[in-house]
């Protein structure tokens, strides 16, 4: 938990080093948004990475499977991203309201394959089969959409009484 607990927003905004490091682990990424009528949208992401300075979080989603969510992000800019490590349930949530929808760069378009490999390694270790994990992560590269977020807040989302505590205000252990 140390790496997550020490995370949080840097003084100038953006993600801390520990959150950036957590993103590189074998994690699952899920996203939510809301439309103008405050109706929720939810989806599974295919990969995520932060810029080196932590000022930008980029999430890749299948735009065909998540059409309503992509439309809601374009409409309201609201995005919540939960990053979770399945074997430990350690999780953080990043939120912001200035998200934008973009066509992924070649670099970004390569993320899902890498993410899927890591995810396979993680889930096979806890009893799932590789074909199953690859099916869940399957997508047409032509449908990939990048969601760019300037993080506004980071929360501890690990199950338990501390879930929801803002990491930026927690004292690192």
């Amino acid at each position: 938990m140390t790496d997550v607990a020490a995370a949080g927003l840097q003084p100038g905004g953006g993600l801390g080093d520990a959150t950036i490091a957590f993103l590189a682990r074998r994690v699952s990424v899920s996203v939510a948004s809301s439309d103008r009528a405050n109706r929720p949208c939810v989806g599974r992401a295919l990969g995520a990475r932060a810029s080196a300075d932590g000022a930008r979080l980029t999430v890749l989603v299948d735009g065909r499977a998540n059409a309503a969510l992509v439309a809601a992000v374009a409409e309201t800019g609201r995005l919540a991203v939960v990053i979770s490590e399945p074997s430990t349930h350690r999780s953080i949530q990043v939120k912001g309201d200035t998200a934008v929808v973009a066509t992924p760069t070649a670099d970004e378009a390569a993320l899902p394959a890498h993410h899927t490999d890591l995810f396979v390694a993680e889930l096979v270790g806890i009893g799932f089969t590789e074909p199953f994990v690859r099916t869940v992560c399957a997508h047409d590269p032509a449908d990939l959409v990048a969601l760019h977020l300037r993080p506004g807040a980071v929360f501890d989302q690990t199950p338990g009484p501390n879930a929801g505590a803002p990491l930026s205000t927690r004292v690192p252990p």
């Binding site: 939510a32 109706r39 939810v42 499977a65 919540a80 939960v82 929801g164």
Partner: protein, 480 residues
């Protein structure tokens, strides 16, 4: 999408008549097995979305699901202000994904739904010694407004090994017409093995005085190194059996490694008290991955109250062995067992009226009152009526008191034939006022003795009659 369970008791009109091919919650119930965490999105009043992973989504009925409320978190804060929620789930065998649009109805803090969720939580928690920490504050009930399939790939659905509906029907038919409780228990075990493919099963009956449950029928534990399973005991509230008995709801755990890992993550985050980390010993497999305990309930005609008549328990070293459908099927069979137990001829109605028939004694046991060979010491401890054979524990409680009376009458009076009736009237056998108790204890005693394959056996010789078979001389020792 019609009823709100428990609110009014009658159906309300739906918003839109569903087309015939509409996805139903029952059709995707496997997604709610807890194998793969679900993802839920909610929205705060200012429009800020929240996304959260859920280890358990509880199937309530074809139109409702419930989420456990253990800690006050953002999801909960949001639904109290804005009832709209969207849940994404994955079908464990195929990987197909679905989104369920939900509308929060209310939080229940008592009643069957709450008890069932609490019991499941306790069932998980007691395995890791966390029963004290896993407090369910409420069951958040949601109506399922709509279900959509998420575009994407999926694997072919696996072929089901059997039809559970057919198995339940044939099991119920096969249980009819039993002469007594022992036959009913044996036929139930055979049905589990032959029709449901169950490899490990127990039937436990309650001790009316202590509330503990003791095993009277067991399947598939011969290799456990701890006997056949007959005579194992469970305290009320311990493990899935004890919780199912206490709460009188089925408890099913499908993916014990995941459930326990989830529990441990929460324990890391909550517990400081090392006393809570106590692992509660549990009968059954050393490393089960799936367990299902179903209460056997019996109803007094015309009365709403149910009596706990026993627990039907099945388990497997395989994950996901018992699904929602298995639970439904075994609840149906358990209901039949409960009804048949009530309808069994009262053991004392005709007892002592039928003449004793000659027992089909094993060749190595002589009935002539001339046992031979090395004597066996039968030691009785009066404090708890425990009985030891040559220093090996055999049995205790009512069954121990029964055995002590039998061996005393045998050694002092030379008796071998006994009736249930005389045991029921014997002043030194502390029988609680419970109809099946004596017969259950005799079954327990008979099967414990059979497990030992030793010098003592009990054999039924007619309705309400049995015979004590003694192969070697007995030396009795009373300990105070």
């Amino acid at each position: 999408m019609s009823t709100d369970p428990g609110a009014s008791g009658r159906a309300t009109p739906t918003d839109l008549p569903p087309p015939c091919d509409r996805l139903t919650l029952d059709a995707i119930r496997a997604c709610l097995e807890g194998v793969i965490p679900a993802t839920i999105a909610t929205v705060a009043p200012d429009g800020t979305p929240n996304v959260s992973l859920l280890s358990q989504v509880h199937y309530v009925d074809p139109d409702h699901i419930a989420l456990s409320y253990q800690f006050f978190n953002k999801t909960r804060a949001n639904i109290l202000d804005n009832p709209d929620a969207l849940l994404q789930v994955i079908d464990p065998p195929t990987g197909a994904q679905y989104r369920l649009r939900l509308s929060y109805l209310r939080t229940e803090t008592a009643g069957p739904l709450f008890e069932s969720m609490k019991a499941k939580l306790s069932g998980i928690a007691s395995h890791v010694g966390m029963a004290e920490v896993f407090r369910l504050r409420g069951a958040d009930l949601f109506r399922v407004v709509a279900i959509e399939s998420v575009p994407g790939r999926s694997l072919p659905a696996p072929v089901r090994p059997r039809s559970l509906l057919s198995a339940a029907r044939r099991a119920c038919e096969g249980l009819r017409g039993c002469a007594d409780l022992a036959e009913l228990l044996d036929r139930a075990m055979a049905a589990l093995r032959d029709l449901f493919g169950v490899e490990h099963a127990l039937i436990l009956l309650p001790d009316a005085a202590t509330g503990r449950l003791f095993t009277v029928a067991a399947l598939g534990y011969e290799g456990s190194g701890r006997g056949s399973g007959i005579g194992w005991e469970v305290a009320p509230g311990d493990g899935v059996i004890g919780v199912a008995a206490r709460e009188r709801v089925p408890i099913r755990i499908t993916h014990m490694t995941t459930d326990v890992a989830y529990s441990l993550a929460m324990r890391d985050a909550t517990a400081d008290d090392p006393g809570l980390a106590r692992e509660i010993p549990f009968p059954g497999l050393e490393r089960p991955h799936s367990q299902l305990a179903v209460p056997i309930l019996s109803h007094e005609p015309g009365l709403p109250d149910e009596q706990l008549a026993g627990i039907l328990f099945v388990e497997s070293p395989r994950e996901m062995r018992f699904t929602y459908d298995d639970e439904d099927a075994l609840v149906t069979v358990a209901a039949q067992i409960g009804a048949l137990m009530r309808g069994l001829p009262a053991p004392h109605a005709a007892e002592a009226e039928e003449p004793a028939r000659p027992a089909a004694a094993p060749a190595d046991i002589r009935l002539t009152g001339c046992p031979h060979g090395a004597p066996v010491t039968v030691r009785h401890y009066a404090t708890d009526d425990s009985v030891f054979l040559d220093h090996d524990y055999l049995i205790k409680g009512v069954a121990g008191a029964i055995l002590w009376k039998l061996v005393r009458d045998h050694t002092s009076l030379g008796r071998v034939d006994f009736t249930n009736r005389e045991l029921r009237l014997a002043p030194d056998i502390p029988l609680p006022d419970f109809a099946e108790n004596l017969e259950a204890r005799l079954i327990l005693l008979q099967r414990r003795l059979a497990d030992r394959c030793g010098a003592l056996r009990i054999e039924k010789t007619g309705r309400g009659r049995f015979r004590l078979l003694v192969a070697t001389p007995l030396r009795l020792e009373e300990m105070h």
